[in-house]
Amino acid sequence: MISAPDVVAFTKEDEYEEEPYNEPALPEEYSVPLFPFASQGANPWSKLSGAKFSRDFILISEFSEQVGPQPLLTIPNDTKVFGTFDLNYFSLRIMSVDYQASFVGHPPGSAYPKLNFVEDSKVVLGDSKEGAFAYVHHLTLYDLEARGFVRPFCMAYISADQHKIMQQFQELSAEFSKASECLKTGNRKAFAGELEKKLKDLDYTRTVLHTETEIQKKANDKGFYSSQAIEKANELASVEKSIIEHQDLLKQIRSYPHRKSKGSDLCSGEMEQTSDQADQVSSTSNPDESAETDLYTCRPAYTPKLIKAKSTKCFDKKLKTLEELCDTEYFTQTLAQLSHIEHMFRGDLCYLLTSQIDRALLKQQHITNFLFEDFVEVDDRVVEKQENVSSKPSEDQLPSRSLGECPIPKVLISVGSYKSSVESVLIKMEQELGDEEYKDAEVAELNSFDPQENLDYLDMDMKGSVSSGESIEVLGTEKSTSVLSKSDSQASLTVPLSPQVIRSKAVSHRTISEDSIEVLSTCPSEALIPDDFKASYPSAINEEESYAGDNEGAIHFQASTSPPELGETEEGSLENTPSQIDSSCCIGQESDGQLGPFSPPAHTHYDEDGVVSSPPQSYRQKDQGFHVDFTVENASPSSRDNSCEGFPAYELDPNHLLASRDVSKTSLDNYSDTTSYVSSVASTSSDRIPSSAHPSCSSSERHKKRAGQNALKFIRQYPFAHPAIYSLLSGRTLVVLGEDEAIVRKLVTALSIFVPNYGRYAKPVKHWVSSPLHILDFQKWKLIGLQRVASPASAGTLHALSRYSRYTSILDLDNKTLRCPLYRGTLVPRLADHRTQIKRGSTYYLHVQSMLTQLCAKAFLYTFCHHLQLPAHDKETEELRASRQASFLKLDLGLVNEDARVVQYLAELLKLHYLQESPGTGHPMLRFDYVPSFLYKI
């Protein structure tokens, strides 16, 4: 029964993989006109027509005080990717839109230079001439030798697809924030180190000068000072001043985390450590003492140098590289995070959105989704589920690794609670509820703002986008950071906005909650009216104008209402008034939300099915929640209590333990970093992302593809694939017996896509065993790759197999036989049709997934139908109920013969999973049937 596809499978077994399918040419009259850019090798979905680069990439640029904007590196670091794209020019463009005046120096009324923990700014920038659109993330790093101690950098995600940037803005922002946080953490560490060195130098210099002065004094006791002596004294004084300044700087940079976590006695060693460090900081205000106690013994001993009185700042001086600025370790982590971002946003927008929606939907299926979904993705559900209970029906969607892998919850664990991330969301929600008033006000204001006018702008922009100057710009002040680092950074942000704000700022300086409210309230009212907007961001606008030459054409999105709030607004009062939303964020007008909305998924999907809403929002909410958790700690101590209660439930999860271990490790590494606690979060994030999340993400894609491909091959190659797959679906362990480990492993991996999970953990699949099987193996594993040994030792293996034959189906790869029960259903033939037209592994994987999802739905229905599972009345016999179940399975679910067994097995798994008190505690049990097996041969 070898049919054509079989032959293909046999003959092209190796080179078959992923080979594009070449269709025979169509007759002329049926052929579709060719895509105009086809000659350039682009597909119709490609937006690359105008772009000079082949795919999306990430660019890091610096505004060098010596040479101006310059590109530093690209990810991927491959010239093929950006091709002829002018990185220098684009660096100039992206560096020029940083609207934030980096406010460092001597603020009025302050004796010492003041560091501002400037928050990052996020901008969307387009250049239609270059065909490039970019999400630009500006950040400022500290450099002792730089002008004003700051070095402005930016990271840009450059894509030819404008919609992609716009629609993925929040995800991009969140991911880049992680990278940025990592860079900044490393930078603070390095900066603190620099300062220490500098202090030692200064101290040494002072000692030297002092000695010299003394010598001069002794040599010269005439009662008046020589000009030389005066000079020395001045020098000494300036060194003294410099010391004080640097001490102050050091204190500032070290106080960064302390302020963030102030008052939060989060009952963890890490926290204590931080406060210890803070104490140390205060004690080290005396440099001598600091030198003596030498807090950082780990650091290689530093020999102080004499500092020349002359300024060291000169233009031929070589500035530190980014790596030097950020500590190599953190720099590497950042690069890993960036390449993770590049991976994550690779591909068509449509694909990204679909997979996001897919994940969002999947998370709603928390009763059944553990069965066939990758546990990596399902892992988030722990948190997820509770969140769903407490907050809204999950509009959650975080690209592949959300809470489970992103650093936030892990840190919380280390602080003594895992659940707190959930709780913190709640807090956030409450807070946002409180903020609702502001939003209302904002909305009211927005209503007065004529949307039509705005539309005109947009139209103009669309029409006039010939000149390179036109650009679309989104100025986003990342809300999370604003909450995170409110005090100073907010000040720096709001200062240019309006004088009133400064005044109120001065009054309510460090009051956390007031700060955040202030920002929320000022931003919309100040910024949404174009004129005000222009005025409040002179630098940004002016710079932009210089390119645009025509301010009308440039559209500025004021995103000071941060993305999550937008979501809130939408979901809340404004659900049915899209025009208001549009005006509120100056989006959406463009071609009916095609281009516009920050959160278009939310928008559109909400309207369409009323179920799905924008995943990005909740992601952001979480993110914020996390920050709030720290910042509002004082205000709502209860949140912490709650979270602590929640901890034990997850205590046993090895993943989490691992995570917390990671964190503690990191924090140990960071012990010398008196900087941030929060930043250690970030470092953890980037620490983990390259190590686990990132590979798992990409490898799981590859894994799916390969598994699908091999499964397809198996189906074509073995006529008895159906009973084998039936065995897997019905929970009968399939033993794949073979001599060659690679072949066995390959097939086991392929077949594992049919194996239902017990729970959120790894699939019950054992890829390779060489010892005789045991009853426990059948209880634990549902798919086993077993080594066939030629030696007499294998007798035991084979004997055990035959002894336990009632629990297993045995697929003998060497002899090409299968011993398993009969299958006469219709489900598996559809699932695994050997004549399928599907060519690609990933497609087949999706096909299987969709079929299995259908199956899950049936199992769900069967499990949760009250009248099916429970006796209708006390006297009803078991038989009657069984017959009711059977007829339901057959008539309502259309399951024939053995297909019913599959659903029954899945139903048992669902029940067990639902009944589990806490995940992982349930015992998997071995269910089996006393049914005869048959031997199949090719």
Binding site: G796, H799, R803, R806, T863, K911, L915, L926, R927, V931
Partner: protein
């Protein structure tokens, strides 16, 4: 260790009755392996409707909950073995002990009274009628008890006056004219005739004799049904279920479920009698035995039908317990305890729990 893995020295196989993979009457379609012991699990004892304790050679006693399969308690005890009878109180204080048991000795446990504050065991009667070590003893009712010995003697005693009610030495053996030559062979196969365990109901005593199972009618004072090679190796424990079913476990690692069925007189296959058929020389006596056999046919009115077997342990199944509501618990030399459950029933129970939980969570809505 694993008997079936060792090619040589294995008892002749194929003799024991086998059953195919299709076992429609076997209710045990779900199993759960409990791994907590580190050595042979020797003994199980039922504590109440849902709890049981297991004791192993690792010196650990574990109390289990058969419902939710949690370990309730873990005790480390030192076991004193050997020819001693010890009385322990609940605090595990040794109260008293006595030694030297090779015959049936009737002891009386003397509870502390006003006169003596100490526990004591007093020998009441020493029954010396067995020729070999007594391996099993069971109370039939208040009036009688049964003992079985290593050489296959079965004695029914009167529990009041300690007299023998019935004595059977090879009572099922129709050929008492064994010569010495055969006696030697018999000795080699002593394990095949030793009575390992008894169980009984009102009418019958069920005996695990060697690899076989015998049903001895108390009324008729004779074997009414037997399964000479019920297992591939010695049967270690048997139990009678209420529904005329008998469960046996054996050194061969299997548990088998039997049903005692009334035999159709005519269609009946003659029950082969005598121990020695299984040794292969029974055939020789076949002709000579014909009359005896015919006579027996009239009385062996029942048969033991194999209706299912439970394969799970990889070594000798030492003992099992039957819970009416929770299935069967077996313990074995492979350090495991396996709980066998009725899958259908468990499925129903889980559904019940599921809807209870739904209701508790307020997720249950009734529609008309």
């Amino acid at each position: 260790m694993l008997r079936w893995l060792i090619g040589g020295g294995r008892e002749p196989q194929g003799l024991a009755e086998t059953i195919g993979e299709e076992q429609t009457q076997n209710p045990y379609t779900e199993l759960l392996v409990l791994k907590a012991h580190h050595d042979i699990v020797r003994f199980l004892v039922q504590l109440d409707d849902y709890r049981f304790a297991s004791a192993g050679d690792d010196g650990i006693v574990i109390v289990w909950n058969a419902q939710c399969l949690t370990i309730l308690q873990r005790l480390d005890v030192w076991l004193s073995g050997g020819n001693e009878v010890c009385v322990w109180n609940r605090k595990l204080d040794l109260l008293c002990k006595t030694c030297h048991l090779s015959d049936t000795v009737i002891f009386r446990l003397v509870a502390p009274t006003d006169e003596s504050l100490e526990w004591d065991i007093r020998e009441v009667k020493r029954l010396l009628d067995h020729q070999d070590n007594i391996l099993s003893l069971v109370n039939v009712n208040d009036l009688s008890f049964v003992t079985g010995s290593h050489v296959g003697e079965l004695i029914i005693w009167d529990a009041l006056d300690w007299t023998m009610q019935a004595y059977e030495r090879n009572f099922w053996d129709p050929a008492p004219q064994l010569d010495t030559q055969q006696e030697i062979k018999l000795c080699q196969k002593l394990t095949d005739i030793s009575i390992h365990h008894f169980t009984c109901d009102e009418e019958n005593v069920f005996a695990a004799v060697g690899r076989g199972l015998y049903v001895y009618s108390l009324q008729m004072k004779r074997v009414i049904a037997c399964q000479k090679t019920a297992h591939d190796s010695s049967v270690l424990h048997i139990a009678k279920l209420p529904n005329r079913q008998l469960i046996s476990c054996s050194e061969d690692g299997s548990v088998r479920i039997w049903e005692l069925r009334e035999k159709q007189q005519l269609a009946a296959e003659p029950v082969p009698t005598g121990f020695f058929n299984m040794w292969g020389f029974g055939r020789v006596n076949k002709q000579a035995n014909q009359p005896v056999k015919k006579q027996q046919e009239n009385v062996t009115s029942c048969s033991l039908e194999l209706i299912g077997d439970l394969i799970g342990h990889s070594s000798s199944v030492e003992m099992f317990l039957y819970f009416e509501d929770h299935g069967l618990v077996t313990c074995s030399a492979d350090h495991l305890i396996i709980l066998w459950k009725n899958g259908e029933r468990e499925s129903g129970l889980r559904s019940l729990k599921l809807f209870q939980k739904l209701e508790e969570n307020g997720d249950l809505y009734f529609t008309v």
